[in-house]
Amino acid sequence: MTLTTTADSWSFLLAVILGVPALGAVVVALLPASRDRQARIVATVFAAVTFLLTIAPVFFRDRAGGWSAFGDVPQLIPWVNLDLPWVPALGLDFHLGVDAVSYPLIVLTGLLTLLCCAYTVKKVPEAGAGRTLAALLLVLEVGVLGTFLALDLILFFVFFEVVLLPMFAVIAGWGGPDRRRAARKFVLYTLAGSVLLLLGVIIVVSRAGTGDLIVLTGSPPLSRGTQCLVFALLAVAFAVKAPLWPLHTWLPDAHTEAPTVGSVILAGVLLKMGTYGLIRVGVGVAPDGAAWAAPVLGVLAVVAILAGSLICLRQRELKRLIAYSSVGHMGFVLLGIATLTVTGIQAALIGNVAHGLITGLLFFLVGTIKDRTGTGSIDQLSGLREQAPRLAGLLGFAAVASLGLPGLAGFWGEAFAVVAAVQAGGPFWLTCAALAAVGGALTAAYFLRLLRRVTHGPATPVVRAMRPSIAAAEWFAWAPLVLLTLVVGLAPALILSGTALPIVDLLGGSR
């Protein structure tokens, strides 16, 4: 078809974005054990180069207009497009592309991987070799970036699965005392989801005759019944990844046991694969199916918001609390998607990025607190602001950002998910909006409870024994997240400019 002709020299940028971290992982893994620290620095350099490359596609955004040269304008217009045949017999193309929907997530992935690699230079969990951990982080990055870049369904599935084993290894290798069980639960649960994803992908590819998302997006050649079936399969698969209530129970275990960098990557970018997949593949390929399932998704989203925050009110373990808060936040993202309005999906996009920044920061902070005091139990932590005012201040900032304070990144996704539900209209969506807003108040309740228990009051012995200062590597890892939380909060257009048209197309609006 004519669309495959756009593999000009710049398009190989996308292949390079995937190639650099892959190469980095190999190099780092091959370095000898005696050069462990140097290997971690090398990994950081590779991650830094990848991060710079992930920023680059924005310079090509105006070239998207070139598509109008073709007679049949596609629904999905990538800024950069790379389409190479790979396994023609399976109909599998190596088809990558960036557009306004995926770009913020790609940059977020590049950034968080860089920050995590830099963090490992200073601090490695005791259990395993630092360079292996860094190499695994780079492999994870390849998988996540590939998922966000893929414009071919089968390729999407392949990258989606690439992520699984390195994450398993990170939890099982460098995690807490109960890491084996948590890692097993994580991998089995998500594998079960993957089976459904594979099934859905195969149905789409066999019915439509192609896996090309550019062709499939917006006006897919699928009957309504097929779309409903496909969307149901895909939605469950992505719901496991996101995770959506009631398919979330792997998350608290995985987070509690994972090392700090593992938690950051898991919350910051891995969960986004689920919501991104739901937008790009679920809604894009099966819009009628999405419309059919939207009320169910809406109910589940609201239940996730309320249940997530209520459960958080009862948690006594720092990391577990933050993990459950992710369930609530992802509920807001899903509510935005479920409304199937442009506003809602924009809210979901910015909610995704904001959650990545804020929860990434939160996991860094509680991971540090847990490392330094040796406990994650809220009952044993108190008076943090007496001993480590800076750390307490940062924790306060992250918590306040996470509860959706306007002016910080978390606000736009949550408030506009509610606005989108109001916009969708009707008693059902208005009820959803009201319940979600109540969930917002509960979110404030559990974060304030957390701050009151951990930062206020007199310092406990474990807190008094901890090191109060913040090391340079820690500043390096945290400062960008703090800054971006503020910047995205003040200028949400950074994420959202140019997303309206792709989303309209995704929803099949211009058919």
Partner: protein
């Protein structure tokens, strides 16, 4: 500087000063860092004051702004555009002036008040942020940006109320302040969402001129009133305000006078054209206002804590403002907001001076301070006089306009129902007497009679912002100059601002009616004299005894604020807690148990199959034969077909 620049800078300057101040390291940083933090705080507020003076000087009304982000769009949804912009008009400038003046004085006062507090730097920065957020609410012409300022104020109040590390109740009070207002904000967010979605734009002008369906509009306005009740401490969401006294006293002045509680009144003022289209919303506002006026005034009569008396009086006075709005006179509400800002800031800062001097909040440990603290005493006289509505002090004039407006509404012709006008008028009138009573009691208990600091058993406890190291001075005395100066500055508008009602420029820009002192003034004056005289008579007849004892059996009820805290606890907190317990248990025992159950189930199924493969030889032979038989039957059926 051109006004087009001065307008947007007005909220931005204090916000920037606050953000810069937060970058300073907390903890004991020595003199240099303290000076820097104080400089930033004072400079932010002073610049804001200069900018508002600049806007006042120009007197122009204009709008300016730029787009931040837009949501939605093609093809059949409306495009919701959010922009940072300011709408400047005289009313905005007057409120901005009050906010920045009070903030500046609070900043100056705090330098001395918190002179030995190691966490002064973040404190000063948070005060700046607080001021900037309030100025954002005051100036913004966009509902979403207004919401940003609104919520940032909530967060700042949380941080500042929880500032005092040595008060065990401070963290709880801070959490309560944030959560109660946040509960109201659930409604506020939904109300704004409805208004914005129906109008298709977040711009205030578009929203005010949208043709809403009456039922939708009433629903949206009632939702917004929930947020207003939270922020402005109106019944039934007023419970956070008395507890917020755990914050340092200058913060109380800031919250009560210029920021936070004024924000709710301001939002109703800003959206007033919409409220006039919904009599139901106005009637609800009127009833809540009437309840709040009486509730606050009665609760203030029985408090022993000096700051709590003032806190409850704020609840009551804000009730006057919302009452004025309800009966159709936004100008009277704004007038009372401005005079209240002056005299309540004065009262709180003076209260800080008293607490600084005697080391306690409790009236029962004060007394006889008049001779030692003349400046503070006269500040209190002016502030309490204005609070009670003593002519010719500021509060008299603004309260008169509120009462006149309410009386006017009882004659009909306003959007609000006539009965609501009566309710408001009676409540406001009755509360004049109660206010005079508790103001007199406060003055007599604190400044007259014998000094009771050491009581019969000596000082067994001390409360203060820094009671760990606090030394009660030998004799109480007036505060040092940096704390005295704000008192003197604030005493001027507290005394004279009311006369501004005669200034044509001020009056016309607020659209205030001509002040006319008719025979209607007689009734509130009579109540005022009766209330004050009654309090004085009890104090004189039974010396050394708290006049509140005259309340008898009602006293504990009033002192506990009608036990509404307990009601709130039973109706909201406990159910949420038990719901959380149930949901958590359900998550562990049902949702997660199903997952792990699936795992163990699969494993045991596998075990069974493994067992089947290990059956002894005779059984295996039977099974193999059975299998062969089945295969044979299938094959035969296949052939036959």
């Amino acid at each position: 500087m051109s006004v087009d620049v001065a307008g947007p800078l007005l909220p931005l300057v204090p916000l920037l000063a606050g953000l810069l101040g937060l970058l300073l390291a907390p903890g004991d940083g020595g003199r240099a860092r303290r000076r820097l933090a104080a400089g930033l705080g004072v400079a932010g507020a002073a610049l804001a004051l200069l900018l508002s003076l600049r806007l006042l000087w120009d007197g122009a009304s204009f709008e300016t702004g730029l787009e931040i982000v837009s949501f939605g769009g093609l093809p059949d949804e409306s495009l919701i555009t959010v922009g940072f912009g300011v709408a400047i008009n005289p009313a905005v400038v007057y409120v901005a002036l009050a906010v920045s003046l009070v903030a500046l004085l609070v900043q100056i006062y705090s330098i001395t008040y918190l002179h030995d507090d190691p966490r002064y730097a973040p404190y000063a920065a948070q005060v700046s942020l607080f001021t900037g957020a309030m100025l954002l609410v005051v100036t913004s012409n966009d509902l979403i940006v207004l919401l940003i300022g609104w919520e940032v104020m909530g967060a700042c109040s949380y941080l500042l109320i929880g500032h005092d590390r040595r008060l065990p109740e401070a963290p709880a009070a801070a959490v309560k302040a944030f959560l109660v207002t946040r509960v109201g904000d659930v409604g506020f967010l939904l109300g704004i969402a409805v208004l914005v979605v129906e109008a298709g734009d977040a711009h205030l002008d578009v929203v005010l001129n949208s043709p809403y369906d009456p039922a939708t509009l009433t629903a949206a306005l009632l939702l917004i009133l929930a947020g207003v009740a939270g922020k402005s401490a109106q019944f039934p969401l007023h419970t956070w305000l008395p507890d917020a006294m755990a914050g340092p006293t200058p913060i109380s002045a800031l919250i009560h006078a210029a920021t936070m509680v004024a924000a709710g009144v301001w939002v109703v003022f800003r959206l007033y054209p919409l409220f006039t289209r919904s009599p139901v919303a106005l009637a609800v506002l009127a009833v809540l206002a009437a309840i709040t006026i009486l509730l606050g005034a009665l609760a203030a009569t029985a408090q022993d804590d000096l700051k709590r008396v003032l806190a409850w009086s704020t609840v009551s006075q804000i009730g006057y403002m919302t009452a004025a709005l309800a009966v159709g006179s936004p100008a009277a509400a704004l007038f009372h907001l401005l005079t209240h800002a002056a005299f309540k800031a004065l009262l709180f800062l003076a209260a800080g001076a008293v607490i600084h001097a005697v080391g306690t909040n409790l009236l029962s440990r004060m007394g006889g301070l008049r001779a030692h603290m003349p400046v503070t005493f006269w500040s209190f006289v002016i502030g309490l006089g204005a609070l009670a509505g003593l002519p010719p002090l500021a509060g008299f004039w603004s309260k008169e306009t509120v009462l006149t407006a309410a009386a006017h509404a009882t004659e009909g012709g306003e959007p609000v129902p006539v009965w609501a006008g009566w309710v408001v008028w009676l409540a406001a009138l009755f509360a004049v007497g109660i206010t005079a009573w508790y103001a007199t009691r406060l003055l007599l208990r604190a400044f007259f009679g014998a000094y009771r600091a050491h009581g019969p058993a000596g000082p067994d406890w001390e409360v203060g912002f820094d009671d760990g190291r606090y030394q009660v001075p030998a004799a109480p005395h007036d505060p040092p100059a940096p704390m005295r100066l704000p008192l003197i500055v604030l005493a001027v508008p507290s005394a004279l601002l009311g006369l501004a009602a005669y200034a044509p420029g001020f009056r016309t820009s607020l659209e205030l009616e001509d002040p006319h002192l008719g025979v209607a003034v007689a009734l509130p004056m009579l109540l005022l004299v009766a209330g004050a005289g009654f309090a004085w008579w009890i104090w004189w007849a039974v010396p050394g005894v708290d006049p509140a004892l005259a309340l008898g059996r009602a006293r504990p009820l009033f002192a506990a604020g009608f036990h509404l805290d307990a009601v709130q606890h039973r109706l909201v907190v406990t159910p949420v807690r038990s719901l959380a317990r149930w949901v958590t248990a359900g998550d562990e025992r049902v949702v997660d148990a199903a997952v792990t159950g699936a795992g163990t189930g699969t494993r045991s199924l596998g075990g069974h199959f493994a067992d089947v493969h290990r059956v002894a030889l005779p059984g295996a032979v039977v099974l193999v034969c059975l299998g062969a038989l089945v295969l044979g039957v299938v094959a035969w059926l296949g052939v036959a077909a």
